[in-house]
C-alpha cells in the first residue's frame, strides 16, 4: 500500500491510471444525467452509527461524516417519521428518512434531486432490512446481522448510482448469500415465523 488506508477510503479509486480523482463516488455522475445518492445512513436512537455508506467525497474525513450525522440526527430526532417517510433540507442536501424502533434510516441526495426518487431508495432499503431481519427491526437485530445490512447497502447503490430499489429483489440477492440462509425455522419463535409468513403473504397479495 502506498498510502494510508484512510486516505484510500477518502479518495476511492485513486489508482486509476489517468489520475482522475474518483471512480467510486457519485461525484463522477452528472447530476443532470442520472440521479445520484450521496449517502445512506443507518443510525441508532442516539445518533450513533449502525451502518453508513458514503458515495460522495463532500465529507472527506471521518470527523466530517460524524459531524454531519450528529447534526442531521439532532435535526430530525424529534420528528415523527414512523408511519410515512419524512423529508428535510439540510446543508443544501435533500434528506429523506424513516424511523422504526430504535433505528433511523436516512438517504441523502443533491439539492435539486427528485425527492420521490430518493424516497424509493429509502423505502427499498427500509423494507429490505425489514425482510432480512424478519420483521424484527431494531438495533440489536441489526448489529447481530450486520453482514446482511452491509450486503444490503452494497446491493442498493453502487458508487452513487441506484442499483436496485425493489425490497424483495434486494433482500433476495442478499439472503441467497447469507451464511445461514437456510437457518432452520426451529430457531425462530412461532410468533416470529407467523409474522414473517404473514408479511410474505401480504406482499405477494399486494403485488
Amino acid at each position: 500500500m502506498s498510502m494510508d488506508l484512510d486516505d484510500c477510503l477518502a479518495l476511492p479509486g485513486f489508482f486509476s491510471v489517468n489520475g482522475s480523482k474518483s471512480t467510486e463516488d457519485c461525484n463522477d455522475v452528472n447530476e443532470d444525467s442520472c440521479p445520484c445518492i450521496k449517502n445512506i445512513l443507518l443510525l441508532d436512537s442516539e445518533g450513533n452509527r449502525v451502518a453508513v455508506k458514503y458515495y460522495s467525497d463532500e465529507w472527506p474525513t471521518n470527523s466530517a461524516k460524524e459531524a454531519f450525522e450528529k447534526a442531521l440526527f439532532s435535526k430530525t430526532q424529534k420528528t415523527n417519521a414512523r408511519t410515512e417517510a419524512e423529508i428535510a433540507m439540510f446543508e443544501n442536501h435533500i434528506i429523506v428518512y424513516k424511523f422504526v424502533q430504535d433505528l433511523h434510516f436516512f438517504v441523502t441526495g443533491a439539492e435539486g434531486e427528485n425527492e420521490l426518487i430518493l424516497v424509493i431508495v429509502l423505502q427499498g432499503f427500509f423494507d429490505a432490512v425489514g425482510l432480512l431481519l424478519r420483521g424484527n427491526v431494531d438495533k440489536k437485530e441489526a448489529l447481530e446481522n450486520l453482514d446482511l445490512i452491509l450486503l444490503c447497502l452494497d446491493e442498493i447503490v453502487d458508487g452513487g448510482v441506484i442499483l436496485e430499489t425493489d425490497a424483495n429483489a434486494i433482500a433476495g440477492k442478499v439472503a441467497s448469500h447469507s451464511v445461514d440462509a437456510a437457518a432452520p425455522l426451529s430457531e425462530q419463535t412461532i410468533s416470529q415465523a407467523l409474522a414473517t409468513a404473514r408479511e410474505h403473504l401480504a406482499r405477494s397479495l399486494l403485488k
Binding site: L5, V17, T23, E86, I120, E187, T189
Partner: protein, 886 residues
C-alpha cells in the same frame, strides 16, 4: 446470527451489553483475521471476522498501510472457499480496502474467473469489484467480457456491467464508448433497471453530441419506456433537448406533448419529474404551466410528507417567476402552514408571501403569527426576509407588516434572527417614508430590552441619524438616555454619541441634552466620559446656546473618509516618536474594488428560496472615493454611478471594467483594472479615450494608476465635461496604455526597465438611462395624482414585432433605467395587454413617473402608450425622446 431470540429490553445499558461488537478492538480482530490463512477454512467464522473488520471501518477506524496490506492478502486466500455467502463478503471487503495497483494483480485472476462463472451472482459482483479496482490496462483485457455482460440474459449481471460502465466512462471514456452498440441493445431490455442503467450510460456516452441525444430522445419518447426511473431520465434528457432547441422554432414547443403525457403516468416519481420539468422550461407559458400546476396542487394534499414537500418546493420556485400561476393553489397552501414538517410549512408561507395580493396580507399575517412560535430560527429568518420583500411590494401595508416585525422582535430568538428583523425594519424605514416614525419607535422599544450589544449600538447609531429628522425628536431622548443608565460601556458610549447628534441637529433640545451629557461626565468608563466631554465642548455646552456650526455637524455625522484598511496599515507602520501621527498621510485610494466587497455573497441561512437582499448602497462608497481625488472634488454631487460594464472578455491578460459616474456637468469613468499575469508589473496605467463619437463631451482630467501589480485591482479615472443638466449621450473607444515591467516570479522583484505597451479595450457608451436614478415610490397612484397633469406628455409608439410582451416590457424598462413599481414589471403569461408603472429621478433632481400601457397588435407586434408626468415639461419631453430614439 441466528442466536436465540432475546426479548427486547428497554434499558439501554442492558441492550448495549448484547451488542455483538461490544468491546471490539482492532488489534484483536486483526489477530482473528489469521483464520483466513487456515488450510481448512471455516466459512462461517471467516464471514464473522470480515463482518467485524467491516464494522471497524464503518465506525471510522483506520488501518495502517501494513495492516491493510496484511488483511488484503489474507482475504485473497478466501477465494479458495466455495461458500457463496463468504465470497459475497470478500467482494465487499476488497472494495472497502481499495487495493493498490500491484495488489490488484493478485486478485485479478480470481475475479476474472468469477466473471466467467456460471453463477449469476458471481458474475455480477465480480464485474463490479473488478471495475472498481481496475486500471486502464487491465480494462482492455476484460473488455470482451464486459460487452457480453451488458447484454447478459440475467438483469443483475447486465446492470452490474452498465453501472460499472457509468463509473469507468469518467476514467476511460475511449474504451466505454466502444460499447455503445451493446448499450443500445440493453436500452430495449425488458428488465426495468437494466433499461434505466443502459439509458443513463448511453446518454453519458453521447452527451456531447447534440444530434445523437436528439435522436435518442425522439425515438424513445415514441416508444414505451417501462421503468419509471428510466422514464425520469428520459424526461430530463428531453428537457435538455428542449432547452437547446429553444430558439430555433416558433409555435408549439417540441416534445411538450411528451412531458404533458408523463403527467398521467402511474408512478408519482414520473409525474413529479415531468411537472417539475415543465415548470422549468424557458419562457414557459400559462397554458403550458397549467396541467403541471394542477398535478402539483393534488400532491399538496397528499398524506405523504415527501410528496407535499416536493410539490410545495417546486411551486415556491414557480412563484418567483409566475406568481399568478400559483394563486390557484393558495387555499391548499394555507392549510400547509400548520404542517407537521416545518420545512413544508416554511415553503408554503414564503410561497404565499410571494403570490399574495394586497388584500390577503392581513389574513396571512394572522396565520403566520401562530406559526412563528414553533419553528426554528433558520426558518424564521427566511420568513422575515419574505415579509420584508412583501412590504416593499405593498408599501400601503407597512403598518401591519411593521407591527408583525416588532412583535416577533419582542419574542425569544438568537442573534442572527434578531439581526434579520432589525435589518428588515431599517430597510423599510429607509424605503417607505411613512413607516419611519413607527419603525423608529419599534427599534427604541427593542433596545430597552436587547441582549445583543452589537444590535444596540447599530440601532443607536441609526437613531442618531434618523431621529432628529422626525417631527418630534424629543420622544426618542428618553429611550436613548435610559441606555446610559442601564447598559454596558459600549452601549453607553454609543448612546452618548447619539444624544450629541440630537443636540447638534435640534436646537430646541440642546439645553436639555447638555444636562444629560453633563451627567455622563461621572460615568465610570473612560470612553463614555471622554465622549461626553468632547461633545459638550464641540457643541458649546459650557456656555450659552450657540448655533451649531457646519464643521461640528461634519464632525458628528461625517464618516471617516479614509479606507479603514489603509488607516490600519498606516498605524501599524507608525513608529512612536516625537512626531505625531498625521491622519492626512494615510493614502485614500481604495485598493480593492468597493463593489466587489459589497457583493461578497452573504451566507444564506437555508436553501429555502430566500428572497434577494436589499440593494447594496455602493453610491456612498463611490462618492467617497471620487471626492478623495482632488481633480474631481469640485464636480458637485454625484448623481448616479452605473453598474460596472466589462470592457474585456473573461480570462484575458488584463481584466478591465468601467463604472460611469454621472455628475451634473461632468462624467467620470472609473476603470477598474486587474493584471492577471504574475510575471508582469504594470506602471503608469492610463486609458486613452477617443470621444470623437461623443461630440458633447470634452476630456478635462485623467488620473493614471501608478502601479498595477499582479492580481491586486487598481483604478484609473478619466473625467469629461458635458453640458450641464442635459442627458448627453455618446460612444467612447478605449485603449489601455501602460509601461510593462518583467517580474521575477521567484523573488517578486520587478526589473528596472519597462516597455510601453497598449491594449485595446471594448467601446463604452453613455446612454440616456445613465441619467435616470431608480427611485421607487411607495404608492404610485397617489404620487401620480399629486404630480398632476400639468407636465403630462402622452404618445403612442409601435415597438414592432417582439418575442413576447414580457420581453418588450423589459426592453423599455432597461432603456429608461427606471424603477418598476408595485411589481408591475412581471407580465402574466399569455396576457394580451399589460400596464407597467415606473418611477425615477431625472438628472437635475426632477421626479419622473411613467405609465406604460402595452398591447399586442396582431400576433407579435407590440404597441405602447407612454404617459409621462414630471415636475418639468422638458423632462417629460426628454423621456419621450429617449423612447423615440431607442
Amino acid at each position: 446470527m441466528a442466536q436465540p431470540l432475546v426479548k427486547k429490553d428497554d434499558d439501554r445499558d442492558d441492550e448495549a451489553d448484547y451488542s455483538p461488537f461490544l468491546g471490539i478492538e482492532k488489534g484483536a480482530v486483526l489477530q482473528e483475521a489469521r483464520v483466513f490463512n487456515d488450510p481448512q477454512l471455516d466459512p462461517r467464522r471467516c464471514s464473522q471476522v470480515i463482518t467485524k473488520l467491516l464494522y471497524l471501518l464503518n465506525q471510522g477506524e483506520t488501518f495502517t498501510k501494513v495492516e491493510a496490506t496484511e488483511v488484503f492478502f489474507a482475504v485473497t486466500k478466501l477465494f479458495q472457499s466455495k461458500d457463496i455467502g463468504l465470497r459475497r463478503m470478500v467482494y465487499v471487503m476488497i472494495k472497502e480496502l481499495s487495493p493498490s495497483a500491484d495488489e490488484v494483480i493478485i486478485v485479478t485472476s480470481s475475479l476474472m474467473k468469477d466473471m466467467t462463472s456460471k453463477t449469476d451472482m458471481y458474475r455480477a459482483n465480480a464485474i463490479r469489484v473488478l471495475c472498481r479496482i481496475t486500471d486502464g490496462t487491465l480494462l482492455t483485457q476484460i473488455e470482451r467480457y464486459l460487452k457480453q455482460a451488458i447484454v447478459d440474459k440475467n438483469p443483475v449481471v447486465a446492470s452490474a456491467a452498465l453501472v460499472s460502465g457509468i463509473h469507468l466512462l469518467q476514467t476511460n471514456p475511449e474504451i466505454v464508448k466502444r460499447w455503445s452498440n451493446e448499450v443500445q441493445e440493453a436500452v430495449q431490455s425488458r428488465a426495468a433497471l437494466v433499461q434505466f442503467h443502459a439509458l443513463a450510460l448511453l446518454h453519458q456516452i453521447r452527451q456531447n453530441d447534440r444530434l445523437a441525444v436528439n435522436k435518442l430522445v425522439s425515438s424513445l419518447t415514441k416508444g414505451s419506456v417501462r421503468s419509471p426511473l428510466a422514464q425520469c431520465l428520459l424526461i430530463r434528457y428531453t428537457s435538455q433537448v428542449i432547452r437547446e432547441s429553444a430558439n430555433t422554432q416558433a409555435g408549439d414547443r417540441p416534445f411538450y406533448d411528451f412531458l404533458e403525457g408523463c403527467l398521467r403516468h402511474k408512478a408519482e416519481m414520473v409525474i413529479f419529474e415531468a411537472a417539475r420539468a415543465i415548470t422549468e422550461l424557458n419562457g414557459v407559458t400559462t397554458r403550458e404551466l397549467t396541467p403541471a400546476i394542477t398535478v402539483l396542487q393534488l400532491f399538496l394534499s397528499s398524506s405523504k410528507p415527501v410528496l407535499r414537500f416536493a410539490a410545495v418546493r417546486t411551486l415556491n420556485k414557480v412563484a418567483m417567476t409566475h406568481p399568478m400561476a400559483v394563486t390557484n393553489c393558495n387555499i391548499d397552501m394555507e392549510s400547509l402552514i400548520s404542517d407537521q414538517n416545518r420545512s413544508i410549512a416554511t415553503l408554503a408561507i414564503t410561497t404565499l408571501l410571494k403570490t399574495g395580493n394586497e388584500s390577503s396580507v392581513d389574513r396571512l399575517m394572522k396565520q403566520i403569527t401562530n406559526f412563528m412560535s414553533d419553528i426554528a430560527d433558520e426558518f424564521k429568518i427566511v420568513v422575515v426576509e419574505a415579509i420584508r420583500s412583501l412590504c416593499l411590494k405593498f408599501p400601503l401595508k407597512h403598518r401591519s407588516l411593521m407591527n408583525f416585525l416588532s412583535n416577533i422582535l419582542r419574542e425569544e430568538g438568537g442573534f442572527d434572527y434578531k439581526k434579520a428583523i432589525v435589518d428588515s425594519i431599517v430597510i423599510l424605514i429607509r424605503d417607505i417614508p411613512e413607516a419611519k416614525e413607527t419603525g423608529l419607535l419599534h427599534l427604541c422599544e427593542f433596545i430597552e430590552d436587547c441582549e445583543f450589544t452589537y444590535l444596540s449600538t447599530q440601532i443607536l447609531h441609526f437613531l442618531g441619524i434618523e431621529g432628529p429628522k422626525t417631527s418630534d425628536p424629543s420622544k426618542y431622548i428618553r429611550y436613548i438616555y435610559n441606555r446610559v443608565h442601564l447598559e454596558n460601556a459600549t452601549v453607553r458610549a454609543a448612546a452618548v454619541s447619539t444624544l450629541a447628534k440630537f443636540g447638534a441637529m435640534v436646537d430646541t433640545l440642546k439645553p436639555r441634552i447638555f444636562v444629560l451629557l453633563r451627567r455622563c461626565l461621572f460615568d465610570n468608563d473612560d470612553e463614555v466620559r471622554d465622549r461626553a466631554t468632547l461633545y459638550l465642548n464641540t457643541l458649546g455646552g459650557d456656555g450659552a446656546v450657540v448655533q451649531t456650526g457646519e464643521d461640528v455637524k461634519e464632525f458628528l455625522f461625517g464618516s471617516l473618509d479614509i479606507p479603514l484598511v489603509n488607516l490600519e496599515n498606516s498605524l501599524k507602520n507608525y513608529e512612536p516618536s516625537e512626531e505625531s501621527f498625521d491622519i492626512y498621510s494615510v493614502p485614500r485610494e481604495v485598493k480593492t474594488q468597493p463593489l466587489a466587497e459589497k457583493k461578497a455573497p452573504g451566507k444564506k441561512p437555508t436553501g429555502l428560496g430566500a428572497p434577494p437582499a436589499g440593494p447594496p448602497s455602493t453610491v456612498d462608497a463611490y462618492e467617497k472615493l471620487l471626492f478623495s481625488i482632488p481633480e474631481f472634488a469640485n464636480f458637485g454631487k454625484l448623481f448616479k454611478s452605473s453598474a460596472p460594464v466589462e470592457l474585456t472578455e473573461a480570462e484575458t491578460e488584463y481584466a478591465v471594467n468601467v463604472v460611469k459616474h454621472i455628475f451634473d456637468g461632468h462624467v467620470v469613468f472609473q476603470y477598474n483594472c486587474t493584471n492577471t499575469i504574475p510575471e508582469q508589473l504594470l506602471e503608469n496605467v492610463t486609458v486613452i479615450v477617443d470621444a470623437s463619437e461623443a461630440e458633447e463631451f470634452a476630456e478635462v482630467a485623467s488620473k493614471p494608476l501608478k502601479s498595477l501589480p499582479y492580481d491586486s485591482p487598481g483604478q484609473t479615472f478619466v473625467a469629461f465635461e458635458k453640458p450641464e443638466g442635459t442627458p448627453a449621450i455618446g460612444k467612447f473607444s478605449n485603449m489601455l496604455r501602460f509601461i510593462v515591467k518583467e517580474v521575477d516570479p521567484s523573488t517578486g522583484e520587478a526589473e528596472d526597465d519597462g516597455v510601453e505597451d497598449e491594449y485595446q479595450l471594448e467601446e463604452l457608451e453613455v446612454v440616456a438611462a445613465d441619467y435616470i436614478l431608480k427611485v421607487g415610490v411607495s404608492n404610485f397612484r397617489n404620487a401620480w395624482e399629486n404630480m398632476g397633469a400639468d407636465c403630462e406628455r402622452i404618445d403612442e409608439y409601435g415597438l414592432g414585432p417582439r418575442e413576447s410582451l414580457a420581453e418588450a416590457v423589459n426592453a423599455v424598462i432597461d432603456l429608461l433605467g427606471m424603477q418598476p413599481c408595485e411589481g408591475t414589471e412581471v407580465v402574466p403569461n399569455n396576457s394580451r395587454s399589460h400596464t407597467c408603472l415606473l418611477s425615477g429621478v431625472y438628472i437635475g433632481n426632477v421626479k419622473v413617473l411613467v405609465r406604460l400601457q402595452f398591447g399586442l397588435d396582431g400576433p407579435k407586434d407590440v404597441a405602447m402608450k407612454l404617459a409621462v408626468r414630471s415636475e418639468d415639461e422638458s423632462v417629460s419631453d426628454a423621456i419621450h425622446e429617449i423612447v423615440a430614439s431607442g
